[in-house]
């Protein structure tokens, strides 16, 4: 016999993500879920961000990767508490994996947590981890058609950082067309053009991030 069920397949993750969010909210911690393709500049952005937040915010970092702790080692040089999560093959972090890192960071000493997700333009978009904002980073070498091909990630993101704009003279990336695609997919998307290499546009990003994080701290 056929029985109606009507349940969200990812409801178990939604529940855990909500509990994580509560955990962070009780401590006044703002959580950023940073997503983007492999090689787009997530770790570089994190490094530039840590340099600029130093002394003003107590930052903690969770590094998500399929394997290796190279990124965590890169970040640990900046003197911020960092924990590496290896997903062991999974293409994204989920609520449960982030919860697994709770015991490894002293959250009384953190007011801004940055979670670098696994490099992937599809899967991380579907799984909440307890974040306040999802932010995606895309580089101009990836092409302006990406909002049309991977709309979900653009839709769930509050802000988009367009990286490597110092390479614009050398690649066929139509900035206007990109903006129009991205805003058709998500009209509320905050787009910022940056270069982690030259530092261009990073003030704008830091202002955005600090404003968002201040709202959480109250």
């Amino acid at each position: 016999m056929e029985v109606k069920v009507v349940r969200d397949i990812l409801e178990a993750n939604e529940v855990i993500a909500r509990q994580n969010w509560d955990f962070f909210a009780e401590r006044g911690i703002y959580v950023l879920n940073l997503m983007g393709s492999p090689g787009t500049g997530k770790t570089s952005l994190l490094e530039r961000t840590l340099e600029r937040l130093k002394g003003r915010w107590r930052v903690g970092v969770i590094e998500g990767d399929i394997a290796t702790s190279q990124d965590a080692e890169r970040i640990a040089r900046y003197g911020v508490p960092t924990v590496q999560i290896n997903t062991g093959g999974a293409c994204h972090l989920d609520g449960n994996m982030v919860r697994g890192a709770f015991g490894e960071l002293d959250f009384d000493q953190i007011d801004l947590l940055i979670v670098e997700n696994v490099g992937n333009l599809v899967c991380p978009a579907e799984f909440r981890i307890g974040e306040d904002d999802k932010v995606m980073i895309l580089s101009v070498t990836e092409g302006e058609d990406k909002p049309l091909k991977y709309p979900l990630m653009f839709q769930v993101s509050s802000a988009l950082l367009l990286n490597k704009i110092d390479l614009l003279p050398y690649v066929d990336f139509d900035l206007e067309r990109f903006r129009s695609y991205a805003l058709k997919v998500n009209p509320r998307l905050q787009i910022m053009e940056i270069s982690c290499k030259t530092g261009e546009g990073l003030e704008c990003w830091i202002d955005w991030l600090e404003e968002r994080a201040s709202g959480k701290r109250g």
């Binding site: 056929e2 029985v3 009507v6 999974a90 994204h92 990630m153 058709k184």
Partner: protein, 121 residues
């Protein structure tokens, strides 16, 4: 390949639902998957086939209904969109997403475990 995670979450729900109804076997599952969800149908079918081995849903067939992207435009009303867009294809106004993000189980076909027949239609 987050389809494997999705298949595993789906199987957890099927196990719960089958147990709650005293069913021995799930033979067919209907899903509603939105066009925006980023799920590849073939990948999900394959992941489900692999992950369902040894569970109550082993060998069950998956029926997937694809749900189109629909928005409510403040000017033009409810309309189906050709692409993954939240702005109205007719007038360019920003609309509200009504469907397209679904990732849900709709129904399942079960076989009775033999006991507890009463109470179920």
């Amino acid at each position: 390949m987050h389809e494997l995670s999705i298949a595993q979450s789906l199987l957890e729900i099927l196990e719960q639902e089958a147990k709650a109804r005293g069913a021995a076997k799930v033979t067919r599952v209907k899903l509603r998957i939105g066009a925006l969800s980023g799920v590849v149908r073939e990948a999900l079918e394959f992941a489900f086939e692999v992950a369902s081995g040894g569970t109550v849903a082993e060998g069950a067939s998956l029926e997937i209904e694809e749900v189109p992207v629909r928005i409510r435009c403040p000017r033009c009303g409810v309309l189906e969109q050709e692409g993954p867009f939240l702005v109205c294809a007719r007038c360019g106004e920003v609309g509200v997403l009504l469907s397209g993000r679904e990732l849900e189980i709709d129904s399942m076909e079960i076989e009775d475990g033999g006991q507890s027949r009463q109470g179920h239609p």
